[in-house]
């Protein structure tokens, strides 16, 4: 939670929180995990789209609009609330794709793809990561061979969030060794989607295979060979959203664990009265405030297109990705045996944080990015 919310942002945050609390409390998350193939009913996502969940990174000219003039900061509020409630829904992939279209697409591409995405009728996802390669901007190997003025895509993308529901993909590929992004529709011959197992109960992932998929020049997003800055930009957006999601989780879990320590008695005293535990709560409060501070700083840098964004998203991802799991597991410890049961909600939060920390670069990967920014070059293991 950034401390400097405008009144409109505060209202937007509250509206989102109330909608989610009413329609998708944790009991509902558990229910949808069992019976909804996508992890959520489509009507629920469309309602969220009406609240603005899909339009914040899209310019007003393209049919979108922000609450505060800082679309990413507005969107991180949604991501934080969704962390608090471990909500389902393709928030990250749809918004990254919406930003890609708004910022880089031709008018024809925008007209074809944006309206459905904005209304929630259609879902899309960003295909950056590849099997056995970290989801980092410079790890693309999927090829797009030229054939006349067409391109033939061959390779696999995984994990791709919400790919089974997606009507189209933004795919990072190499054309003559240079990164290029394509908009590929899911029903294009040669595209196949295989659902994957995943740690999160309601965020679904899949492997998308491209088996000699032929696309025309109208599928190219921006310029052939010119996608490196696009990918960096989308990557920064994605990581900023992951960080907001993780701080939403962590802030909430710490709060309910603290409350539990007042309610739970041992040897005739509340747990909260034991200094050994108080000191751990003090550390967790410190780390959580630091997580909130660095998440907000990263979001502001990306929103403002600051030259510091490259480093600050990785600082936030590295710090939060390391600390959030530690805080959550210590909260399990403070809950005692109930904390490791299926019925307690703690594992839902741990699942969410593990997912956020592990995709689009682990803390280790992000420290490597930071070091490269500082002029140090290590041996990459791929």
């Amino acid at each position: 939670m950034d401390l400097e919310l405008t009144d409109d942002q505060g209202l937007f945050r509250e509206t989102t929180a109330k909608y989610i609390e009413r329609t998708c409390p944790l009991s509902t998350v558990r229910e949808w995990a069992e019976k909804e193939p996508a992890g959520y009913p489509t009507a629920w996502w469309r309602q969220g789209a009406e609240l603005g969940w899909t339009s914040l990174l899209v310019s007003e000219d393209d049919g979108g609009g922000s609450v505060s003039g800082h679309g990413l900061l507005d969107l991180t509020l949604v991501a934080e609330v969704m962390g608090h409630w471990v909500s389902p829904g393709p928030l990250l992939p749809t918004n990254v794709v919406a930003a890609a279209l708004s910022e880089f697409a031709t008018e024809a591409q925008k007209e074809r793809y944006l309206p459905g995405l904005l209304s929630g009728e259609n879902i899309a996802t960003w295909c950056l990561a590849e099997p056995r390669h970290p989801g980092l901007p410079d790890a693309v190997t999927l090829t797009a061979a030229r054939r006349g003025d067409e391109f033939v895509l061959s390779g696999k993308k995984a994990p791709a969030e919400a790919a089974a529901e997606a009507g189209f993909f933004v795919v990072a590929a190499l054309v003559d060794g240079a990164v290029t992004q394509f908009v590929v529709e899911a029903d294009t011959p040669g595209v196949s989607v295989v659902a994957a197992e995943g740690i999160d109960l309601v965020r679904r992932f899949a492997t998308v295979s491209f088996d000699n998929v032929v696309v025309g020049p109208q599928a190219v997003l921006g310029d052939v060979g010119g996608a490196a800055p696009q990918i960096e930009r989308l990557f920064e957006l994605a990581v900023a959203l992951q960080c907001a999601s993780m701080v939403g989780v962590t802030d909430h879990v710490l709060a309910f664990t603290l409350a539990y320590s007042f309610d739970r008695y041992s040897f005739g005293r509340p747990l909260a009265s034991y200094q050994a535990l108080k000191h751990r709560f003090a550390d967790m409060k410190l780390w959580t405030e630091a997580c909130l501070g660095t998440s907000a700083a990263a979001a502001r840098a990306v929103d403002g297109r600051s030259e510091k964004a490259f480093e600050l998203v990785s600082v936030a991802k590295s710090y939060i990705g390391d600390k959030a799991p530690v805080i959550l597991q210590d909260c399990v410890q403070l809950h005692g045996g109930i904390g490791v049961t299926w019925d307690h909600d703690l594992h839902l939060y741990i699942r969410r944080v593990v997912q956020d920390r592990s995709l689009f670069g682990t803390p280790y990967d992000h420290r490597e990015r930071i070091a490269r920014g500082l002029g140090l070059e290590g041996d990459r293991g791929h």
Binding site: S261, F262, A282, V315, E368, L374
Partner: protein, 424 residues
């Protein structure tokens, strides 16, 4: 108005920055290649040099940026101070004055001093004429400051001071001290204390430097032998010294954590508006390990910890000012700075490798080895990490207070340590 937001008519930030940049280039001596103000602080003549440098800043109108104009400051905002500190990076700066004179004792005097006391001393602090130090800790007590036993006995218009204080930084080069002493032994411990200002170099006060594990002798111990303090030199109310000391400690947490608006210039170390630069990359290169993936992880981790620390200061400071966090929230960045400093020392030791143990004269690796000897200093001074964790859990999170055997009991009925004997 105030330190956070500019009054109408305050100089525009960018205009100020450009004016400061030009003035610094014309007036301040540049650091030599590889030198930092952190290194310069170790020099014996630093006190004298700091006063000279501060006088230049004062005459140029760049001293006490966030202090009120009526006490010799410039009445500018924190943002101006941060910009100024960024601009001073290439220059020699009197950073030794930052803590405690500017960021702890001057603000405390502004909070509790009489108008006469403030007019007599704050402008001289800002001009570099007076260096101040705090006499709080005693050999008999560490974290339990309020159980101190240095006594000030009323005798007409004076108090007579006897006892000993310890862990005062650079007292030998300072002019005045704020000294907390017991004035009522029958009251509970927090209610029998009084804060005084005392002139350090006078008969009856013996200042001795303490040699530390890394060889430095910054810290001092003082012995008081029937020192007469005029009653006008009481700060705050008689027997209400704990209120003054608590505020002083608040300013100290803010200063040590890097959140104080009165810090000017960077030591090139950490916790100072993030303007300092880490020398770990230089260390990695000097150790021949700059392409080792393990070393790369450590350098980046150190960088992450420093940047997050600066971001945390911004967040916590804002939260305290807006009321989202209570004042003791300052313990958050204080604890962060201390634990980060421990981690940075570990990382430096690891990257230095064998060079931390055996080195050629002047090697950075050797410096890191010696610095490791003082790894805990930031976690001890100004309230230990354990005390900060008590403060955060009890006063930020609202958890139950620790049991205190001396609560509300007259101090002379409470068990406490004996007065130390003076070394011969």
């Amino acid at each position: 108005m105030g330190i956070e937001t500019a009054e109408e008519g305050t100089e525009d930030l960018e205009a100020f920055r450009l004016r400061a940049r030009a003035w610094l280039a014309d007036n301040m001596p540049r650091l030599k290649e590889g030198q930092t103000n952190h290194h310069l602080m170790a020099l014996d003549e630093m006190g004298t040099r700091a006063r000279e440098l501060q006088r230049i800043l004062f005459d140029g109108g760049f001293a006490g940026l966030c202090f009120p104009k009526e006490y010799g400051g410039q009445g500018l905002t924190r943002a101006h101070q941060i910009a100024f500190t960024q601009e001073t990076a290439p220059y020699e700066m009197p950073v030794v004055l930052n803590i405690p004179t500017f960021s702890i004792l001057a603000p405390t005097l502004l909070d509790f001093g009489t108008e006469e006391q403030k007019q007599a001393h704050v402008p001289k602090m800002i001009s570099g004429e007076e260096m101040w130090v705090q006499f709080l800790s005693e050999p008999s007590g560490g974290s339990d400051l309020a159980s101190l036993i240095t006594r000030a006995t009323r005798d007409g218009d004076v108090f007579i001071l006897n006892g000993s204080k310890i862990w005062s930084s650079g007292a030998f080069r300072c002019d005045y001290a704020m000294c907390l002493a017991r004035t009522d032994w029958h009251a509970p411990k927090h209610r029998g204390l009084t804060m005084f200002m005392i002139k350090i170099h006078q008969p009856g006060i013996d200042v001795q430097q303490i040699k530390m594990s890394n060889g430095s002798n910054e810290f001092c111990q003082e012995f008081f032998d029937d020192v007469a303090i005029p009653i006008e030199d009481v700060i705050g109310e008689i027997n209400d010294g704990w209120t003054v000391a608590s505020r002083l400690l608040f300013h100290e947490r803010d200063a040590v954590g890097g959140g104080s608006p009165y810090l000017s210039g960077s030591s090139g170390g950490r916790g100072d508006h993030g303007a300092g630069r880490s020398d770990l990359i230089e260390l990695a290169r000097a150790s021949g390990r700059a392409s080792d993936p393990r070393v790369i992880q450590l350098v980046a981790e150190a960088r992450v910890n420093d940047l997050v620390g600066a971001q945390l200061i911004g967040r916590v400071t804002h939260a305290i000012n807006s009321g989202a966090l209570p004042g003791p929230g300052g313990s958050l960045h204080r604890l962060y700075a201390a634990t980060n400093s421990e981690r940075q020392a570990d990382i430096a030791l690891e990257i230095a490798g064998a060079g931390a143990a055996v080195w050629e004269d002047g090697d950075l690796a050797g410096l890191k080895g010696v610095e490791f000897l003082q790894r805990q200093s930031g976690s001890l001074g100004g309230g230990s990490n354990e005390m900060q964790r008590n403060i955060i859990s009890e006063r930020v999170l609202g958890m139950p207070r620790e049991f205190a055997a001396d609560k509300d009991r007259p101090f002379d009925e409470v068990l406490h340590n004996a007065s130390p004997s003076r070394p011969t």
